[in-house]
Symmetry: C2
């Protein structure tokens, strides 16, 4: 049948179809073409699945130039009969009856003509890397994980809250912030008397930045709607050129009224396991590909995390374990010091050999909003540590007592005036509550087995790199 008269079906559906003998229409990009003068076998992919459908073409019945133009990367529409495949590797294939060429792909200049490019090269061609098996798999999984996050919270009665991206508040202390301005940078107005920037004349009438976290605003929602979560971009203007850092990344931050730190840990563990189970159940073909090509231990590791309870230990216990290990650490271990990646990895990968949730950290290494324990030295913080990743989740019970919160704000010399709205929630109908943050790309590293965080976000933003 003629292409114009038919309704396209996706390759994924075609491959799963049992209706051999019927005419179908598929559209997609050529992955490979092989064969001889009489017959061509075209592997066609349309992004709906990692698998290609084989198009069998009797080259004699088509225009010679058309066949010549069907090269790797070209885009075509093919109608023909779906038949049981004669060859190995696929159940069905299509005997082409009509082919339309949508877009050629010059073999000389197409960057992905050859296989086996380095990750670095593909990053420089991030506009095309979606077309490779690896990145097709990664970004289909990324979609599934994002969807699973929304589904998990929706099914539990949480509300998705869009917290602001541009913020005049700088209290999280989570890191260096990017400035946002409508000023012409060549002519930033300065107040003559003080020599200070005249932020009153900027777009928002004050100094503004890109958010480092939606938590504080998220708490406002939780203390009225009960259970909320954010899922949005966050930013760090830190000059960290590592495989673990992005300057723009996505965070999920649930905040829950009436949850104590134990409820918080239970939720975090249940949540991460739900996501891993969702990946295993919904992304099996992509995971199998990544397991075979990127990380041979991937699926085993996912199942291991799924089938074991996370170890729960206190920071103090962790410090004792690290000291008892008798190792020479790059960063010294002592009660009161923050744990470094080397310590976290030792605990997870060598000592416990399991994901670990550490709690009750010294208050001096944690944020002002964390609930103080009665010992007045530690806070109800929790970090979830994962093999190969380190910290994947950080959270805490929040300080709901206004006096203790204000005292902590003073101690830490934070601008109480700017936090009036946050403090108000403790003044008016305060409630015990908790929350945590999950770095989406950290989760993606774990679920895909990819080793560089730049390869699990479509267009990574890192120092000196804002391409595309």
């Amino acid at each position: 049948m003629k292409i114009e008269l038919m309704k396209r079906i996706k390759v994924k559906e075609a491959l799963a179809s049992h209706e051999t003998g019927t005419d179908i229409l598929v559209k997609g990009w050529v992955r490979t073409k092989r064969g001889n003068k009489n017959i061509s076998f075209i592997a066609l992919n349309d992004g709906s699945t990692i698998n290609n459908i084989q198009i069998v073409t009797d080259t004699q019945t088509f225009d010679e130039n058309l066949i010549k133009d069907i090269t790797t990367g070209a885009c075509i529409a093919v109608s023909g009969k779906l038949v049981e495949s004669q060859g190995q590797g696929q159940k069905v294939e299509i005997i082409a009856s009509d082919i339309e060429l949508y877009g050629k792909c010059d073999a000389e200049t197409y960057p992905l003509q050859k296989k086996g490019h380095s990750m670095e090269f593909l990053r420089e061609n991030a506009h095309l890397r979606f077309r490779t098996n690896t990145f097709g798999a990664v970004f289909r999984i990324r979609h599934s994980m994002a969807y699973a996050i929304h589904k998990y919270f929706n099914d539990k009665g949480f509300y998705y809250l869009h917290t602001p991206i541009i913020t005049a508040s700088d209290c999280e202390g989570a890191g260096e912030m990017f400035r946002v301005t409508a000023f012409d940078l060549k002519n930033v107005p300065v107040i003559p008397e003080t020599g200070k920037v005249d932020f009153k004349s900027d777009f928002y009438g004050k100094e503004t930045h890109l958010t480092v976290s939606g938590q504080l605003e998220g708490e406002l929602g939780a203390l009225a709607l009960g259970e909320i979560y954010t899922f949005g971009p966050t930013f760090r203007a830190e000059n960290s050129n590592t495989p673990r850092h992005l300057s723009e990344f996505w965070m999920i931050e649930p905040e829950m009224a009436f949850y104590n730190i134990t409820d918080n840990m239970d939720l975090a563990e249940d949540f991460v396991k739900y996501l891993i189970r969702y990946a295993i159940e919904n992304c099996s073909e992509d995971l199998e590909f990544l397991n075979s090509m990127i990380d041979k231990g991937l699926i085993e590791r996912l199942n291991f995390v799924l089938n074991n309870s996370f170890i729960r230990a206190t920071y103090t216990e962790a410090v004792e374990i690290l000291i008892a290990a008798g190792r020479k650490w790059e960063y010294p271990v002592a009660w009161g010091r923050d744990l470094q990646a080397e310590h976290e990895r030792y605990l997870v990968e060598e000592h416990f050999k399991q994901p670990v949730i550490l709690t009750n950290y010294p208050k001096d290494i944690k944020a002002f909003y964390m609930k103080q324990n009665d010992d007045r030295k530690t806070v109800k913080a929790m970090d979830v540590l994962f093999p190969g990743i380190g910290e994947i989740i950080g959270g805490s019970q929040r300080e709901e007592n206004i006096d203790r919160l204000l005292a902590r704000i003073k101690e830490m010399k934070l601008p109480e005036k700017d936090l009036w709205w946050y403090i108000d929630t403790r003044r008016f109908g305060s409630a015990p509550h908790s929350g945590f943050g999950l770095g989406f790309e950290r989760l993606m590293l774990f679920v895909t087995g990819m080793s560089n965080i730049r390869d699990v976000i479509p267009f990574p933003r890192t120092p000196k790199n804002a391409e595309f």
Copy 2:
């Protein structure tokens, strides 16, 4: 039973429960308290539903000070027996046996103590407005609409793509952009020879802005994965102080390979109707509240849009209709000029009395990437116009022909060099494709009946306002 020993259930579940006679535990915020010396009726809300549960309290059995502290806005936990209600207005209520006060709420200073605040006042108290009936309803619906968007696309096999927020590209031409920088604004480095800002020494090594649209990057995904959508924040540094404009707002932008403009219109209509149907089916209590308190025509209007096909007309036909109307327009009507809000509203609200999709706009008033018609004067653009809202969706078939695209880029004097990655997709395996953008807050205005866009986003960002 003692509160510490029980598991809390949400007010929504309690109100729906048929298990009268059992002991339950609820937690939430006091909306009102009335009664006499012997008995108090407390209306408790926990955000899970717009409805309150009534707590009947024999005041003699509780500490006098506790009862005194249970004021509007206070947060309490209540255990007691669930019983059929004696009074009107609710099926079940709770006979309190134990009450714990989590957070007092001083009646003198609590901003929401009285009812009937202006929207303006509530905006200034956006940290607390979630606690009102109206904003509880709005933000529960906002969650449902966001979830429905993800569900719609997931079920159709679209992939969610996170396009970058920080961008070095400035080609959309959709409006003024915010600058993003890590420079100290007091000491922006300038190249002495040229007097220009030394962007090479900024964080990204070039000039960067906040995105106005994820479309161009979205197309890169669609031309490999088939069907994608974005759902993320976008920005305009425009000094528009109107009830229809935000400087930070959320957009949904689907992009689909192999869709022509008709497929695109079909998808847009199906999508919006799905969202409205989802709201009607899943948010009925909140919609009924808004229908009674905010906009008496709301539910009727939602059903009207759901049950009627959108009118499809060309821009040229629209211009003829507007001229034939014989009105005095503030902005003159003539072929080649862009339509203004007054024209769009006339078409939708007075002429067609239905949502309208206008197509085939003059190329000179539309973006460079829109596919040119064979008349070479118009492009395959489409705008979906809604009653009361105006343009809610804008989209087009994209120009997939590289020669025509390059010619348009030159004509419009756009920096071809900066668009190399976008052009590459037309060079290598180009495909017919289409897409559109839906402003999430515009949708929210339509679905909630709210009249100011600042009231459908948790923390609005507008000129001179970046509070919270």
